[in-house]
Structures are given as structure tokens and as C-alpha cells.
């Protein structure tokens, strides 16, 4: 079962990309991008996991206890913030695109071509 997390990571990457390329709605596309990014959290946390490790908080456990990797958790936190920021900006673009084009279908945003 120790490969399952990594299979799930690859599965999420595939699902996210599939959602992006088949999307006919900008908001759907943005949500698919969120799914794609969620694969990186799972990857990072899977990489730093240790079977006998506890969460890295020494308030109520003795020092020297084996913990899971705190570094990947910090990276994943940063990643979540990036997700929030990018998503917010993309949603704003989607609102304006809807006003200008009267559509939120990426196939119908046809101002720029060639």
C-alpha cells in the first residue's frame, strides 16, 4: 500500500489537467486548476510522512520524539496561500471576461488569434 499515495498524486494531476482541457466554463477551469494544485499538497505531505512520526508540535510531547517532516508542511502552507491568491485573481478575470465577451466559455474568447 506504500505506493498508493503516489498513485493518487498522479491521478489528481491527470484529473486536474483533464478538467482544464475539456472545460467549457472559466470557473470550471479555475476549479480544475485548484484540483491540479492540490496534487502538490498531497505529494509534499506524502514525501515528508514518517510511519512512526507525530505532528511536529512539542507542546505536549517530549523533546526528541520522532515527528513527521515539518519542512514540507511549511511548504504546503505556502502553496495553499499561492492557490488562494491565484484563484482570486483568476476569478476577477473571469468576471470581467464575462462582461466583455458575454460568455465564460474559453472557446468563445476569440479576440486574440494567429
Amino acid at each position: 500500500m506504500s505506493v498508493l499515495p503516489f498513485i493518487v498524486v498522479a491521478w489528481i494531476v491527470g484529473a486536474g489537467l483533464y478538467g482544464i482541457i475539456t472545460s467549457r466554463h472559466l470557473v470550471h477551469q479555475i476549479i480544475s486548476l485548484i484540483v491540479l494544485q492540490s496534487s502538490t499538497y498531497v505529494l509534499l505531505l506524502a514525501v515528508g510522512f514518517h510511519v512512526n512520526g507525530v505532528a511536529p508540535y512539542f507542546s505536549d510531547i517530549p523533546r526528541g520524539t520522532r515527528t513527521v517532516d515539518p519542512v514540507v508542511q511549511a511548504l504546503a502552507l505556502t502553496d495553499v496561500v499561492v492557490e488562494a491568491a491565484v484563484t482570486a485573481l483568476l476569478l476577477a478575470f473571469a468576471i470581467q471576461a464575462h462582461k466583455r465577451f458575454g460568455s465564460v466559455d474559453p472557446e468563445e474568447l476569440r479576440q486574440l488569434r494567429g
Partner: protein, 253 residues
């Protein structure tokens, strides 16, 4: 490409990409077998060096504080970008004056509804504050706390107070507060330079014992600024989107 062609091309491409990615993943150490050394060394040193018992916060705000600085500014600039993109454009306001009135009527909710929303505001704010100020001990910090505090403010909006809020124009205040939060983080770093240490070094007294609420010098301070920045950034973003939905409702018939 037509959607069908695209899907076929994609099928071939994604098969290759996943095979390649899977080839890489298959070479990793097994799940549950983290081997360090970065995390182990941080675990061993963090309590002594920072007096924080929450090691993730120690990494976020001390060891990799420079990352977090960049991360805060991603959020800062996203809020600025949302404000830029959704700004009131020339002529947009006049054209939609009728909708404006309609939108206002729709948001006048009863006092009871408002009150019930406001009941939640207090506890949520307190929780956000708790999370923001316990970065060094608990699984929390400015980021989570900031989002929770922002949620409290958004609850007020959703309770029908949006127009009251708009009239008081606290958005300028939120704008300034957000920038103060982001700028404060930079200045904490500069403070370390002034004190003769390296940028973002922990130059404040660490406090004792390890794990106290006021311990860990700059970690607590940075977490506070991050909390302010994040809360205000989310409030600003939500406010811009709400303004689009409620006030500038184009196409509502």
C-alpha cells in the same frame, strides 16, 4: 482544435506525461519513510533556537521566513490585482444605475437575520485571533487566523450589512491595514538589520519558557502581521467580488 481532436491529442499526451511522472514517483523512498536530513535537524534545533514548540511555525516564520515574505506579497499583490481588474470603469456606474437600486433593495434583510449572523461574528473573530497569536505553540498561525478573521467580517457582509459597511467606507481602512500588515513584515526584517543581525533574524528577546504565548521573539510578531495582511486581503477580495455581484449587477432583468 475542436474539442474532440483536443481530447484525443490530450489522451496521448497525458498518457505519456503520467507514465513519465509515475516513473519518477516509483523511484521515491516508500511512503512513510521520510529520511531527512532537513526536517530532523530543524526538529532538533528549533526549540532551542526559537523557543517555539510549533516547529512548522518556526520553519515558516524563522528558518524559511523569506519564503513567507514572498508568499505574503503574492496575496498582497493578488488583492491589488483584483481591485485593479474589478475597478469601477468609466461609464460603468451610470449605465447600471437602475440595477443599483434593485440590488440595494434585494439586500435589505430583516433585523433578525442580521442579528443571527452577528451572533457568529464574535466567536469566529476570537477564534481567528487565537489562531493568529498562537503560531509558536499550536498548529496555527497568521495565515489560518487571518482567513478565519476575514470570514468573520464576511459574515457581517452576508448578514446584510454590506451597504452599511459601504457607507462607512471601511474599505480604505482595510486597504491601509493590509498594506501595513505586508509592510510590517518587511520592516520586522529591516529591524533585524538595524539591530546588526541578518535580514529577518530573530532579534527580539525569545522570552521564556519555550512555548509561552509571548515567546519566540519575531515569530509571534511576524505571525501577527501576516494575520492582519491575510485577513484584510481576503476582506478586500471578497468585497470587490460582492460589489460586482450586488451593486454592479449587469444583466439582471
Amino acid at each position: 482544435m475542436t474539442p474532440l481532436v483536443r481530447r484525443r491529442v490530450f489522451t496521448v499526451g497525458i498518457a505519456g506525461l503520467l507514465a513519465f511522472y509515475g516513473w519518477g514517483l516509483s523511484g521515491l523512498p516508500a511512503f512513510g519513510d521520510y529520511r531527512g536530513p532537513y526536517g530532523f535537524l530543524v526538529d532538533a534545533l528549533a526549540i532551542h533556537q526559537t523557543h517555539a514548540t510549533g516547529i512548522v511555525s518556526a520553519v515558516n516564520f524563522f528558518y524559511r521566513g523569506f519564503d513567507t515574505l514572498g508568499e505574503e506579497f503574492i496575496l498582497f499583490i493578488a488583492a491589488t490585482g483584483v481591485a485593479t481588474v474589478l475597478r469601477e470603469l468609466r461609464g460603468e456606474h451610470d449605465r447600471e444605475e437602475n440595477d443599483l437600486a434593485e440590488g440595494r433593495a434585494a439586500t435589505l434583510t430583516s433585523d433578525a437575520v442580521r442579528m443571527s449572523a452577528l451572533v457568529f461574528v464574535g466567536p469566529v473573530l476570537v477564534m481567528g485571533w487565537f489562531l493568529t497569536t498562537h503560531a509558536q505553540t499550536d498548529p496555527s498561525g497568521g495565515f489560518q487566523g487571518g482567513v478565519v478573521m476575514a470570514t468573520a467580517v464576511i459574515l457581517v457582509y452576508l448578514g446584510g450589512q454590506f451597504l452599511v459597511f459601504e457607507r462607512l467606507s471601511p474599505i480604505d481602512v482595510a486597504d491601509a491595514a493590509e498594506a501595513v500588515g505586508a509592510g510590517g513584515f518587511v520592516l520586522v526584517g529591516l529591524g533585524a538589520l538595524m539591530a546588526g543581525a541578518a535580514y529577518l533574524a530573530d532579534f527580539l528577546p525569545l522570552g521564556s519558557p519555550a512555548g509561552a504565548v509571548d515567546a519566540s521573539g519575531t515569530i509571534a510578531l511576524i505571525s501577527f502581521f501576516v494575520g492582519v495582511e491575510v485577513a484584510m486581503a481576503f476582506v478586500l477580495i471578497a468585497n470587490e467580488l460582492l460589489e460586482q455581484t450586488i451593486v454592479v449587477r449587469k444583466g439582471s432583468r
